[in-house]
């Protein structure tokens, strides 16, 4: 479903990606943990096709149409309402925005408010709705829990679990091990553009993964 082969990318003299290879199969959720500057965001952008790697190849089955993306920024038009934003993004994928999406994310009562009038947490929920509007086969998430309150974080967790249960793939990057571990079927630790660990979570809890992570990146 998603394949990365020997990805290399540099920003000047800095090696952002240094020979990363992995694959994610349907139903799997890969959580990539790493400190700031490890190359996590660059890796996601390469997987999404937003950056062309200097070497190697990233392939997502179904191409851009199959990708849902939540980045650092909400990617919403502040002047437009929630409904208008979702309608616009859906139109680019030739679909109608699913009506139940607003309900599932608790956005129904905010649907006709402009995005600029929403709190940060609500904006993040709309960003999640935007990423899911075309029912993507692969979700690429960059620190998706940022700005979410507890309820919204739980809702996102449920949505991601449903996404995986439907046989879809997710790649999630975060520096917060506790948040990511609960959702992951596979875990990777990233440092200086390389995976220093990659493998199934295999029932390990957040505490154990957190300890292994600290040791791996020390």
């Amino acid at each position: 479903m998603l394949l990365a082969e020997q990805l290399h990318h540099r920003f000047g003299s800095v090696r952002a990606l240094d020979g990363i290879s992995f694959s994610v199969r349907p139903g799997q959720t890969l959580a990539i943990f790493g400190p700031n500057g490890a190359g996590k965001t660059t890796l996601l952008r390469v997987l999404a096709g937003l950056i062309r790697p200097h070497q190697g190849r990233a392939h997502v089955e179904g191409g851009r149409r199959a990708i849902g993306w939540i980045g650092h920024q909400a990617q919403l038009y502040n002047q437009l309402t929630v409904r208008e934003n979702l309608r616009f993004w859906a139109s680019l994928y030739d679909v109608a925005p699913p009506a139940e999406l607003l309900t599932r994310l608790g956005l129904e009562e905010h649907a006709d408010r402009p995005v600029r009038a929403l709190s940060r947490g609500l904006v993040q929920r709309v960003a999640i709705a935007r990423a899911l509007v075309h029912n993507p086969a692969v979700l690429l998430l960059d620190e998706p829990f940022t700005g979410l309150d507890r309820t919204a974080a739980e809702t996102l967790g449920r949505l991601l679990a449903q996404h995986a249960a439907a046989g879809r793939a997710t790649v999630l990057v975060t520096h917060n091990v506790e948040e990511g571990t609960g959702l992951a079927t596979e875990v990777a630790f990233m440092r200086a553009g390389r995976f220093v660990h990659f493998g199934p979570r295999a029932g390990r809890g957040a505490q154990q993964v957190s300890e292994e992570y600290r040791n791996a990146i020390a």
């Binding site: 851009r64 920024q73 502040n78 680019l92």
Partner: protein
Amino acid sequence: MRLPEGVRHTWAVAAKDLLVEFRSRTGIVSAAVFVVLVLMVFNFGRDPTAVSNLVLAPTILWVTFTFAAIIALNRAFQLELENQALDGLLLSPIGRGSIYLGKLIANLVFVAIVEVIGVPLVALFFNVEVWQNIGPLAGIIALATLGFVAVGTLFSAMTVRTRFAELLLPVVLLPFMILPLMWATMATTAIFGGRPLSEIGGWLKMLAGYDIVFVIVALLLFPATVNE
């Protein structure tokens, strides 16, 4: 009847830009106020006995439209950056050409609105025959505007991520505007002077040729300007 995919995506981008701009009114109001102020300054800051209106009006008209268009063009990709939405557009399955054409259509509408405000003011301030020649004048304005907005939309995408985008856009764009401006000014002078329409045919053909060449070139180059 369902429109072809490229047309639907182009319209989606254009309609979104128009809606965002009409809600915020940032670029359009700036450009419209600029046109009114510049024409007023030219009107009061000239010696009417030194140069005839016939000579002055076409030049002022096109100088004003040029800089007003640059104000509007600066907004084209700025609104994507402000809303941090450029990645989303690039990640969506729509063709880069649809993004460019959508932006081009929205920019043409903005600049046309500014021109609709500017033309009556030129007629009022400079006492030139606009209404009798409105058809040919509209043709000149449409052809010249399409050319420099096509180039300007491309350069707007190229410069938007730079530190001095608002300064850089006119610096790179103005050299490409010299030819259409020259042709448009000469054709407008002929129209205002009551010359026969056959005299402006050559200018119109050159403007049309410029439009065809630069819309195609911009469409070909646009993907390279937005890809990282």
